[in-house]
Symmetry: C2
Subunit: 211 residues, 2 copies
């Protein structure tokens, strides 16, 4: 039966696990698309154009926003981030789900957009701030100052937990992933995501009529 693709928004403070969860989702179901963000920030070591981000100049980014090519965008630490619209709309119509690894600002904008009714939003909380701090330091890439800034942003991010449909406490990664899968499996079954049902019921009615 034809299904409309949904828009799964994953938000969490940095280090709570949303990127890992997004990768696990796509390994589990390769039909799931990851919404690659555009950004004006420079690439970090190991990051690849088109896989991790679309790296754009500030001018190009602003042109895309003006042209309506961004489903959402926001400024974080002086850099712009945004989700290109066209691939998301194409996937939706093709019955393919898209995962967004974005913050609360992006989440709000997509929820309030024309595509809002296709959104399923999940907020991932760390089990504790101590654990969040440990995970951030574990990356070993960033200075204390950067980590302190990210912790401040984490606190701001967490303050938006109540805007999400689902909230998961990421204590054990495997458990959290199973919960996320369950959410996606169930949301795919929602009536309003299955436009083919109307045809199916028309068929049942024709059968009644023919008796």
């Amino acid at each position: 039966m034809i299904r409309r693709g949904l828009l799964l928004i994953l938000s969490s403070p940095s280090g709570a696990g949303k990127s890992t969860l997004a990768k696990m989702l796509m390994a589990w179901d390769p039909t799931i698309r990851f919404s690659v963000s555009a950004t004006t920030r420079p690439p970090r070591p190991g990051e690849t154009e088109g896989r991790d981000y679309y790296f754009r100049s500030r001018d190009t980014f602003e042109d895309m926003v003006v042209a309506g090519d961004m489903l959402e965008h926001a400024e974080v630490f002086g850099n712009f981030y945004g989700s290109p619209r066209t691939p998301v709309e194409a996937a939706m119509l093709a019955g393919q789900d898209t995962v967004f690894d974005i913050d609360w600002q992006g989440g709000q904008q997509i929820r309030n957009s024309a595509l809002g009714r296709n959104v399923v939003s999940v907020f991932v909380l760390p089990p504790s701030i101590e654990e969040l701090d440990r995970r951030l330091r574990g990356r070993g890439q960033d200075s204390d100052e950067v980590i302190a800034g990210r912790m401040a942003k984490s606190r701001d991010e967490i303050s938006h937990w109540a805007e999400y449909d689902y909230v998961l406490v990421n204590d054990e990664l495997t458990d959290t992933f199973c919960q996320l899968r369950t959410i996606l499996d169930a949301e795919r079954l929602r009536r309003d995501r299955q436009p083919g049902l109307a045809d199916f019921v028309r068929g049942l009615n024709a059968e009644f009529q023919a008796r």
Copy 2:
């Protein structure tokens, strides 16, 4: 974490499998409560007071409605049916889910009641009308006239499919049951069903403050 119990409304035309699915749910998770309806119709062979129905006189039933003791009620084929309110509210507060095996009229009333935000509604469709007819006759209990009346009611029931959150086509019972379990598992994870989350986030904020 404390959870608010949800109200799972299962509706379907007679013979599409909702009663079997309700029984399977309760065998899977014995904490799930079945909402036993009150009715003014006489017991059928094998039906037990308090397990299948609360059998009540018309006078008693009407008194209960007037006293506000019914969460929903409707007249079907000249008999009244209704869901007693008190046990449902008690279960909800205790974090216990309640399953309702009721028709679209009852579903509408509960959705529009003060408890409406705790409702998850699932409509079960038969794979075909031929199959529905076969399942109804398979019971071997009822006359052709009764079956014809029930088929007319089935058509009316099916016309309300689009009022439900989820719609399942019950082709293979085991598949449909797994889908139903997935829906229940996911709905239990919704933010607004977990009032304990607010305390948890307060704890995280206290941790931030203490740093």
